[in-house]
Symmetry: C2
Subunit: 313 residues, 2 copies
């Protein structure tokens, strides 16, 4: 099977590339290296089954060229900067929604019919059912990031109906693990690297979040791709537990052997559009035989381990 991975040099994308190559698939990795890192692909680049394409998803012709002979597209490339959405209000539309339309057009043009898509639990906005199932009440969007991913889901589903595509849409919680290069652990770690005595926390620290280890995330994607039989297959991906930001802080500082003073910016949200509580109902993916191997705590510690081993990040 020949696959195309967009965002191949990213945190999750590069881990997926390694897994696909290990499973014997041919992989075309597509990335514009706006946030991706070439060294994440250092193993892949030694594999005969891997080809790297430097390109931008704004360029549909470039995607068409890269997609030649591809059976499954894993579309992971995205602007994943949720927090600063209001600083650049059209970026999520441009880099997520429009680029996803371009990927779909390239698939239509090349006759490629299967797409795996990384959506987000943020599409539930401020959910009012916990744990939140895939068929939760029709949500109201609270972030430009969530809105852009919801728009992608809609486009993908409409292409399934209109052009006979099959889609595997995954609504992730935040993903942790090796090659993690943005998010709260990264921010906290870098703050503590600069000043081990102080830590500034956005919000009141009581935000309740769920996290998932990257290899568990990839296990779920590969199991669903093998077993899910629908036209538009939508799965939540997370653990059945949540932690407070304060819990995460305690695990991080314990691992680093630090006791910083904590300063809270206050409020139940860390930033505009932040969800004070995220917990997804993952019964659907579990029904296919998947379960996560790591707890949130183990995922956090493993992420800190990765960051301490790569201080140049």
């Amino acid at each position: 099977m020949k696959t195309l991975v967009t965002g191949a040099a990213g945190f999750i994308g590069s881990a997926l590339v390694d897994r696909l190559l290990a499973a014997g698939y041919t992989v075309v990795g597509f990335d514009n290296f706006s946030t991706g890192r070439e060294w994440f692909l250092q193993d892949a680049l030694r594999s005969p089954g891997f080809r790297l394409v430097r390109g931008d998803l704004v360029d549909t012709a470039a995607i068409v060229a890269a997609m030649d002979g591809v059976d499954v597209v894993f579309h992971l490339a995205a602007n994943a900067d949720v927090r600063f959405g209001t600083n650049h209000p059209t970026r999520d539309l441009e880099q997520n929604t429009i680029c996803t339309s371009n990927v779909l057009e390239a698939m239509r043009i090349t006759g490629t019919k299967r797409i795996v898509f990384s959506s987000t639990g943020s599409v539930y906005g401020d959910a009012n059912v916990f744990p939140t199932p895939e068929n939760a009440p029709f949500p109201v969007q609270t972030s430009l990031y969530g809105a852009s991913k919801l728009a992608c889901e809609g486009l993908i589903s409409a292409y399934c109906d209109g052009f006979g595509f099959t889609a595997y849409i995954f609504r992730f919680v935040s993903i942790l693990g090796e090659r993690y290069t943005h998010g709260h652990i990264y921010d906290f770690y870098n703050q503590l690297l600069a000043d081990p005595t102080q830590l500034r926390v956005l919000g009141n620290g009581r935000q309740r979040k769920s996290y998932l280890y990257v290899q568990d995330c990839l296990n779920a994607i590969l199991i669903a791709l093998e077993k899910a039989g629908g036209k538009v297959n939508v799965f939540n991906l997370g653990t059945d537990e949540y932690c407070e930001v304060n819990d995460s802080i305690s695990w991080i500082v314990e691992r680093l052997g630090l006791k910083p003073d904590l300063e809270y910016t206050g409020g139940e949200r860390g930033w505009v559009g932040d969800s004070p509580f995220i917990l997804l109902d993952c019964k659907l993916i579990r029904a296919l035989g998947w379960k996560p191997s790591l707890s949130i705590r183990d995922g956090v510690v493993r992420t800190v381990n990765f960051l301490t081993e790569h201080p140049h990040l």
Copy 2:
């Protein structure tokens, strides 16, 4: 109050312009006349409270210029061609989603905070609850049109959260009445004008649809704008009844005094992405004191009356 109406020369837009002027509001009408008709604005153009701007929503600077001093934006401009979505797969994204982003950006730039938006019952895809309420289970999109409107809703909601906007989002069934210039009655009427003995019907004629008379639609919008107090106010707009396409045909041919032979293309959907059943739960808007004045049958007949009085359409 100063208002801006996009799609001001369209079927619903021009009727809204007339209503706003009659209520004493100042109105800037914005239209690119791609499908709008200038004679729909012949009354408005005689009013001192009306100014027409010929412009395209792809041009954010033009919207900004037209929006000067505006309090409420009624964003009705859209590609409303649901049926041929798969013939031009990026048009709904370009003309609906991206243009809505441009309208929102113009509002952010000019400090305009209130937006009325014409969404669609198509965002429910193939609903599995009837009548379908606003908080129906998270839907899967089945048309590029519905997907593009859902994307607009998400963008608008995210701007409400991020920039303090207030939104009034209306999910319409199909709207009927004076100045109706596309849709099944228009298609049937024109077929019968060309050959009164034959009528070709898409699907099996058993599709169950709900329709609403345009002035009832506008009544609902104006009541909600006055009474709804939330940040993101979402309302279904429809009647509490539905009819089969075959019912509609019988009312049309009876009004015209014709007995054509009916030819069905077959299948429960008229086209890819057509919903075989649309019936919206309108309790929320009814709770504000609104109710429709015309039945579906009366709306259909009034639409045929309009078409017979304007055969040049």
